[in-house]
């Protein structure tokens, strides 16, 4: 049995303070974005391959791909908007 009274749960207020030495938040975010964009590129290529191969030349294929690329690039631009011009 512990002889010390239980301490109330106190969540950390500064999560960035837990980063290892030498790793800046900016570098971490940069690598995080690399991973996300790589995942996105791979996923998009696979999905477009399926659209072009199996949609039977449907009218929906190219609008769907175009919409996906447009929204994705808009979100990427938003994600980079804070970091590109630091």
């Amino acid at each position: 049995m512990p002889d010390q009274p239980l301490q109330p749960f106190a969540p950390p207020t500064d999560l960035l303070a837990y980063l290892p030495d030498g790793v800046s938040p900016g570098a971490m975010v940069e690598w995080f974005l690399y991973v996300v964009f790589a995942f996105w590129a791979l996923y998009t290529i696979v999905a477009i391959y399926h659209w072009l191969k199996y949609s039977h030349a449907s009218w929906a294929a190219f609008p769907s791909i175009a919409l996906h690329l447009f929204i994705s690039f808009a979100l990427m631009a938003y994600a980079l908007s804070g970091t590109l011009f630091i």
């Binding site: 969540p11 975010v29 974005l33 996105w40 399926h50 769907s64 929204i71 990427m76």
Partner: protein, 179 residues
């Protein structure tokens, strides 16, 4: 068609997918994921111990903009993937057969068909309030064979599809059941 070749004189009568309402239900988790970053800053202050975390969700900072953008990008891409799967999952009725093209996932696709001349029984069922109001349900096609059955779940206007299937069953095979 890449999955199957149409025979001479065969043509596609109808191509259908799951009802749009079922697709919207599939999108629901992605919508919830997408709004989490906007809801959390409003919910966290309700719990005093978690209130300090609400300040982290300041989307004016470069880091949080990057995180939010990436989060929404993942949610959007996943939702678009669900639409891709929905669109490529299709039933095709031709003048000679019924084809079920099931897109289980990427690089996982199953194409099965039943000749209309082998169809013995077609039943539809619409169960529940929402399916009844929106007009979608299931079709079960029993073909000649011990256990061969063809299921089409969540199909819009199942009665219309059933009538079309019955219409295209060859006359000489359309014998009354139980005779």
């Amino acid at each position: 068609m890449k999955e199957f070749e149409l025979e001479p004189g065969e043509h596609v009568v109808m191509e259908t997918r799951k009802h749009w309402f079922l697709f919207l239900l599939e999108l629901l988790p992605f919508a919830v994921i997408a709004i989490i970053p906007f809801v959390l800053p409003k919910i966290l202050p309700l719990a005093p111990q978690l209130a300090p975390y609400a300040e982290l969700f300041d989307y004016g900072t470069p880091i949080m903009r990057a995180v939010l953008g990436a989060w929404l990008l993942i949610a959007w891409t996943s939702a678009w993937g669900a639409f891709t799967k929905y669109f490529l999952d299709v039933w095709v009725l031709t003048t000679q057969r019924l084809v079920d093209i099931e897109q289980r996932g990427y690089f996982s696709r199953e194409v099965s068909s039943v000749l209309l001349s082998r169809v013995q029984d077609v039943t539809t069922d619409v169960v529940g309030v929402i399916p009844s109001l929106l007009g979608f349900g299931n079709i079960n096609v029993q073909s000649a064979g011990a256990t061969e059955k063809f299921h089409m779940n969540g199909i819009p206007r199942p009665e219309q599809m059933r009538d079309l299937i019955v219409k295209y069953i060859p006359e000489e095979d359309a014998k009354p059941l139980g005779v």
